[in-house]
């Protein structure tokens, strides 16, 4: 059975081969902060970090995670981006928001003061149907304030 490190804790996931990381997190561990909106790797709502790299957990299999540490939105509770998103009103329905914040956390880890162009490049894999994009850009530009 795969043993995963998730947000600093070790979890054994007794799931069949072929189970996606998104389903493992949500159904087995109750970590429902990770949302699934398309389930086929097109929208970014399910984004988590694997060893710091954003991936779509809906097309990542539990059995392929291996040693890489998994970080979900639940592991970013204390990240200043949470407050930055709320301050900037960078969320409406909120269903894509955890994925947006996870992606943004990887961006600012590498590049604490990204330009508008860099934000748009890094965040283009996270769709938002409500159209909060201008406020997302603002939140990421002001996360250190």
């Amino acid at each position: 059975m795969p043993e995963l490190t998730i947000n600093g804790e070790t979890h054994v996931l007794e799931v069949p081969v072929g189970t996606t990381l998104a389903d493992g997190l949500r159904d087995e561990l109750g970590l429902t902060g990770t949302k699934v909106a398309c389930a086929e790797g097109h929208c970014g709502a399910c984004t988590v970090l694997l060893a710091g790299v954003p991936v779509y957990s809906c097309i990542t299999l539990v059995h392929m995670v291996g040693e890489r540490e998994v970080t979900t939105i639940e592991g970013l509770r204390a990240h200043p981006l949470i407050d930055a998103f709320v301050r900037a009103d960078a969320l409406q329905c909120g269903f894509c928001t955890p994925g947006q914040i996870v992606s943004a956390s990887a961006l600012v880890e590498d590049n604490p003061s990204p330009s508008s162009e860099e934000i748009r490049h890094a965040m283009a894999g996270n769709l938002c149907r409500c159209g909060t994009y201008p406020k997302i850009e603002e939140a990421i530009s002001t996360w250190q304030d």
């Binding site: 902060g33 990770t34 086929e40 009103d89």
Partner: protein, 752 residues
């Protein structure tokens, strides 16, 4: 006092006469302008929960013993089930129940569109349920689908009836016109693409039913389910605390709910039925395509003499006739108007309301037509609109209309034309376009709210409304906090449960704030009055000198007592306030208005179009939360840009099957597609509308975007784009046509 009235009720342009019990709206409006809390930017009260991933959506609900349902949906656009067998499915691992045509009203053996529900299975896991659905044996008799809206209109195959409107004498006016412009516009099918797919979890508890559902209308779902099942409405409890987007598509119960209810009944267990993204894009509704054949006749000075249009809505297998002709009937002062609207019934997935249904499509046609007229008359587009400004289009006055002020404020953006055009560079041509906006958004009764104030000096507002992501819970909290003289963080807002709050209106038709806001204010006022009565007795003051401010009871002579001290006297007793939405102003049209000015760049060699800037000026009455309001405007414009440039649900023309039911092939805008957006809201309270003077803002911002962009393209290139989306093909076609026109005019070949 409660009063029984017969009144006209409007939701998204659909009117009906209803009996209503309304309570007098005795409160005076606040004076215009920002107050302590109302009118100032407020962070979303649900923001932290949503950002942290702690908000529990229907998709996150895990009830003990819950089964998962999967649905067999028609793989054909038009077919009949000759034979169906659930036997192999029922024998599959983990399967607890299966239902087919006849078992549930929403399951059919004669599907009229791809994706219509035929059968369903409940199993222990979703994987087992899907595997079992694949084992349902069906013998199909596949029929020829009807896909051409014009053909359906001609045959009289309609969803409902054709509607006709006429004022004045259009034919005579056209004969007298100096200039006549005729054009055909087309708009495409657009998918709502709510991120949380349509879904519900249903659980029977004795003879009562709990429905957890992603919905825009808790009470609508309660009434629909109770009605279909023959249950007393309060035996059905509907819950939706957080939901992941609806945009008009989640006003009803949906097939998934009735499937889950039946499977829950058969198994005695809670059942989830959630659409996959592919099912969502087939079966959950869409903004229907339209064909608009329009004519305008005018004098050489630009005065409109006649407007007429034939509108064909490609409504699909089900839905209703969205008022595509609405803008033509309502926007301009024109004595002679004639429209006919055909809602074509086709073997395509059904339409559902989508953010200003009909008006988005109709505004594209009308406002492009007006600009084609302006070009022909060599007249300024803004001037043409001012010249034909409507002070009324029927015998009812507007409750308020400040569109002229919107036009005045648009001047500074419209005035950028020369500098924008001057930035054209090589194949990139730049230009500016504008379009007006008209839409409903007044809301109406009934709607109720309760306010509870405890001895801790905190208030709780309770109502069974839903916040679909528009920020209405925040606006309501601000209104209550304002009236109670409390900081926002001492007011809690409880919503989302039909069994635990009073009736609240649908979150559609830009109606939540104008419907619910006045009720919340009335409830808070009722609670405040009771606090002041107690304070007057406790501190030996005259009631009329007391008010609530900054968490204190204050008197006009300078006395001040903390609210906790006053309500602390109550111990476990509580102050309960209640409020109701009063009536809309009798005999008046309640409408929202605005104008948008778009700047675009067009690569005339490749047909690529980029929107570089959109300025949006809207008149929606008093603004409660300027921060949330700016987000609504941006969201509307961004959806509008998707509608204009990239989104297109494609059908195979022979089979009628959807070719792009996924997010990689159906192109939503990304963060990289977003232009600079400038938002200006007039913030002038509508003095005739409720104790707030607020109208709704959810829909107005998406209405004029497509036309403003198309008109900017004409300004940049001289090309008339008439079909959405403005793909590269459409852009290049329009450019070729424009060059051809120039060539004919000058009688000489030009280099292409």
């Amino acid at each position: 006092m409660a009063r029984l009235i017969r009144t006209e009720k409007e939701v998204e342009g659909r009117f009906e006469e209803v009996w209503l019990v309304v309570e007098e709206d005795a409160l005076e409006q606040w004076p215009a302008g920002a107050r302590e809390i109302v009118g100032k930017p407020a962070q979303r009260v649900t923001g932290p929960m949503r950002a942290l991933g702690e908000a529990r959506y229907t998709a996150d609900l895990r009830l003990p013993g819950m089964l998962q349902a999967a649905v067999l949906r028609s793989p054909h656009a038009h077919a009949r089930v000759k034979k169906i067998s659930l036997e192999r499915a029922l024998a599959a691992p983990g399967v607890r129940a299966a239902v087919g045509p006849g078992d549930v009203s929403v399951l059919t053996d004669e599907p009229g569109h791809q994706g219509q529900a035929v059968a369903a299975v409940a199993a222990d896991t979703i994987g087992q349920a899907r595997a079992a659905v694949a084992l349902i044996d069906v013998e199909w008799d596949v029929r020829k689908p009807l896909l051409d809206p014009d053909e359906a209109a001609e045959k009289g195959q309609l969803v409902g009836e054709a509607s006709r409107y006429e004022r004045g004498d259009v034919d005579r006016a056209l004969a007298q016109a100096d200039v006549v412009v005729e054009a055909e516009y087309r708009t495409q099918t657009v998918l709502h693409s709510s991120f949380e797919t349509h879904q519900s979890v249903c659980e029977w508890r004795g003879d009562s039913l709990d429905v957890y559902i992603s919905t825009q209308f808790i009470f609508g779902v309660r009434d629909e389910v109770a009605g279909k099942l023959g249950l007393p409405p309060d035996k059905v409890r509907v819950v939706c605390e957080y939901m992941g987007g609806g945009f008009g598509s989640k006003n009803g119960a949906g097939d998934y709910t009735f499937i889950a209810i039946e499977l829950a009944k058969r198994t005695g267990r809670p059942v989830r039925c959630a659409l996959t993204r592919r099912e969502e894009n087939l079966a959950s509704g869409n903004r229907n395509a339209t064909i608009q054949r329009l004519t305008v006749g005018a004098k050489t000075d630009g005065t409109l003499l006649a407007l007429t249009g034939e509108f064909v809505n490609a409504t699909g297998w089900d839905g209703w006739a969205a008022p595509t002709d609405g803008p033509m009937r309502l926007l301009y002062d024109c004595e002679n108007v004639r429209t006919v609207l055909y809602p074509a019934k086709l073997n395509t997935p059904p339409m559902k309301a989508f953010r200003a249904p009909g008006f988005v499509e109709g505004t594209f046609g009308l406002e492009c037509l007006l600009d084609e007229l302006a070009a022909k008359l060599d007249m300024d587009s803004l001037e043409l609109r001012r010249l034909n400004y409507a002070n009324s289009t029927d015998d009812r006055p507007y409750s308020s209309k400040n569109l002229m002020e919107c036009y005045r404020r648009a001047e500074q953006h419209w005035g950028r034309r020369d500098q924008v055009r001057a930035r054209s560079d090589g194949p990139w041509k730049r230009g500016v376009g504008l379009a007006s906006q008209i839409w409903y958004g007044g809301g109406g009764p009934p709607s109720y709210a309760w306010v509870r104030l405890g001895s801790d000096g905190r208030a709780t507002v309770i109502t069974a409304m839903q916040d679909i992501g528009t920020g209405t819970a925040t606006a309501m909290t601000q209104i209550a906090a304002e009236e109670l003289g409390l900081p926002i963080d001492r007011v809690d807002f409880v919503l989302g449960d039909s069994a635990r709050g009073p009736y609240a209106s649908v979150s559609a038709g830009s109606s939540t704030t104008p419907s619910m806001g006045p009720a919340v204010r009335a409830a808070a006022t009722d609670a405040a009055r009771q606090v002041l009565e107690i304070a007057a007795q406790r501190y030996d003051q005259e009631g009329r000198v007391l008010s609530l401010k900054g968490g204190n009871v204050v008197s006009s002579d300078g006395g001040s007592w903390p609210l906790e001290e006053v309500v602390g006297l109550l111990e476990d007793a509580q102050i309960l306030g209640k409020g109701a939405r009063g009536p809309n102003p009798t005999g008046m049209q309640v409408l929202t208005f605005g104008v948008q000015v778009a700047e675009v760049a067009v690569d005339v060699e490749t047909g690529e179009v980029r929107v570089e800037r959109v300025a949006a000026i809207h008149d929606v009455g008093r603004v409660i939360n300027p921060l949330g309001a700016s987000s609504q405007v941006e969201g509307g414009i961004i959806q509008g840009i998707g509608h204009t440039l990239s989104e297109d649900r494609l059908l195979d023309p022979a089979s009628g099957l959807t070719l792009n039911p996924t997010f990689d092939t159906y192109k939503l805008p990304t963060i990289a597609d977003v232009p600079e957006i400038v938002t200006e809201l007039l913030d002038i309270p509508d003095e005739h509308l409720t104790n707030l003077g607020s109208k709704g803002l959810g829909e107005p911002p998406i209405v004029p975007t497509a036309a403003a962009i198309a008109n900017a393209i004409r300004d940049a290139t001289g090309a008339d784009v008439r079909s959405l989306p403005i793909s590269r093909e459409e852009m290049l076609r329009a450019l070729r046509e424009a060059r051809e026109r120039e060539r004919k005019k000058h009688g000489a070949p030009t280099a292409v």
